[in-house]
């Protein structure tokens, strides 16, 4: 394998194993490795890649795919993506195997009951964190969007694509009319 491909593996596989708490915790390490250590990108180039990964659907650590692509084309993209997800996924499945085997056991029920309120708190926390990161230019529009989508998704079975498409259409209308 090409030495550049190996370097991609050596950059992303350890970060994958270390990403306790989710992808966002290793973004600064990815920046350190790719900008400061390996001089693959300038800070501006990195923040462009970061912006793309934030705008795209799916996990934010897909920035690894973009970096791999810049370094070694499609092969680089595939290798970097595998290095990002295979190590952490293997650990995850191994760690939860015991868990899935003990369906209905008393200790598992107790852990589930204990984790549930923590998980609910974290769900609301993630909503607030994203809201802070969005930098809404129009507060009323932003709060209105959150309120309407919350109500629609709470009370109806609206199709997710229809909802996202309608929101985009509405924002385009607002953009051109105001």
């Amino acid at each position: 394998m090409d030495s550049r491909l190996w370097t991609l593996v050596l950059v992303f596989a350890p970060l994958s194993v270390m990403s306790f708490g989710g992808g966002q915790v290793i973004v600064s390490d990815i920046q350190l490795q790719t900008v400061v250590v390996h001089h693959w990108f300038s800070n501006q180039q990195f923040s462009d890649l970061f912006a793309i990964s934030r705008a795209a659907p799916g996990p934010s650590t897909l920035i690894a795919s973009l970096i791999g692509w810049q370094i070694n084309g499609y092969l680089g993209a595939i290798v970097a993506t595998l290095a990002m997800y295979v190590p952490s996924s293997t650990i995850f499945v191994l760690a939860t195997t015991m868990w899935h085997k003990h369906h209905g056991s008393p200790w598992r029920l107790a852990i589930e009951r204990g984790l549930a309120p923590v998980a609910v708190g974290l769900i609301f926390a993630s909503g607030v964190t994203v809201l802070e990161a969005i930098h809404m230019s129009n507060l009323i529009l932003g709060i209105g969007t959150v309120a309407v989508t919350t109500v629609l998704l709470y009370f109806t079975k609206i199709n997710p694509y229809l909802l996202l498409f309608s929101v985009a259409l509405f924002y385009a209308a607002v953009f051109y009319l105001l």
């Binding site: 994958s16 194993v17 990403s19 306790f20 708490g21 462009d48 793309i52 705008a55 795209a56 659907p57 799916g58 996990p59 650590t61 897909l62 795919s65 973009l66 692509w69 993506t81 990002m84 997800y85 190590p87 996924s89 650990i91 995850f92 760690a95 939860t96 899935h100 107790a110 852990i111 589930e112 009951r113 204990g114 984790l115 549930a116 923590v118 998980a119 609910v120 708190g121 974290l122 769900i123 926390a125 993630s126 909503g127 607030v128 964190t129 994203v130 969005i134 809404m136 932003g142 969007t145 959150v146 989508t149 919350t150 109500v151 629609l152 998704l153 509405f170 924002y171 385009a172 953009f175």
Partner: protein
């Protein structure tokens, strides 16, 4: 997983039957479910769409299994969307299901991000692009809140649980303390309290 298709019910241990009371889910369904979820996951809203698709529509998990899955997915290494797809896939179809779920989550998103990388420089010049992305991400927050309200109101009503949930929210959402230490303290306390109440 083919092995499991071949066994007759009499060979299957009782607890296995109990945990898989539903008819076996085809791997293709696991894959396509997460393709759909993955492509709507804007603005960190993955768990909301997973809840809708997997708990509400398909009944693969109940509320508490789902919540335990989201908590474990966030604590263990790996991207939360990928981990939750592994968790659900593994629950319904073991290792093969976990692989199908994770592939469904990553493959289409990988294609989309590659296309976006190619057109981004072109589209980034227009202020409309950023404005639309803000709109879609804001809708993602709405999805997250709606799912949060649903699971919060369906949760067993007990003031200790509301207190624990509120503490987790304030510590991570308002104070921005790192999540792993917060959960490492709150989760054992909450589990012990749940055990005490069960007695």
């Amino acid at each position: 997983m083919l092995k499991e298709d071949a066994v007759t019910p009499s060979d299957v241990p009782e607890d296995f039957l109990e945990s898989n009371a539903l008819p076996q889910v085809p791997l293709w369904d696991v894959f396509t479910t997460f393709v759909r979820v993955g492509l709507t996951s804007f603005g960190g809203s993955t768990q909301a769409w997973v809840y809708r698709a997997v708990v509400e529509r398909r009944g693969w998990l109940n509320d508490e299994e789902f919540l335990a899955g989201t908590a474990v997915s966030q604590i263990l290494p790996g991207a939360n969307p990928v981990n939750i797809s592994l968790y659900v896939g593994q629950k319904v179809r073991g290792w093969a299901g976990a692989t199908a779920g994770a592939l469904g989550m990553v493959l289409p998103a990988f294609c989309v991000i590659m296309i976006m990388a190619m057109v981004y420089r072109m589209l980034a010049q227009y202020p409309l692009t950023h404005f639309l992305l803000i709109g879609v991400a804001t809708a993602g927050v709405g999805a997250t809140l709606a799912a949060g309200i649903k699971v919060a109101t369906r949760m067993e009503r007990h003031w200790v649980r509301y207190l624990v949930g509120f503490a987790a929210f304030v510590a991570v959402g308002i104070m921005h303390w790192p999540m792993v230490p917060v959960v490492s303290v709150l989760a054992p306390v909450s589990v012990l309290l749940a055990l005490r109440r069960a007695k």
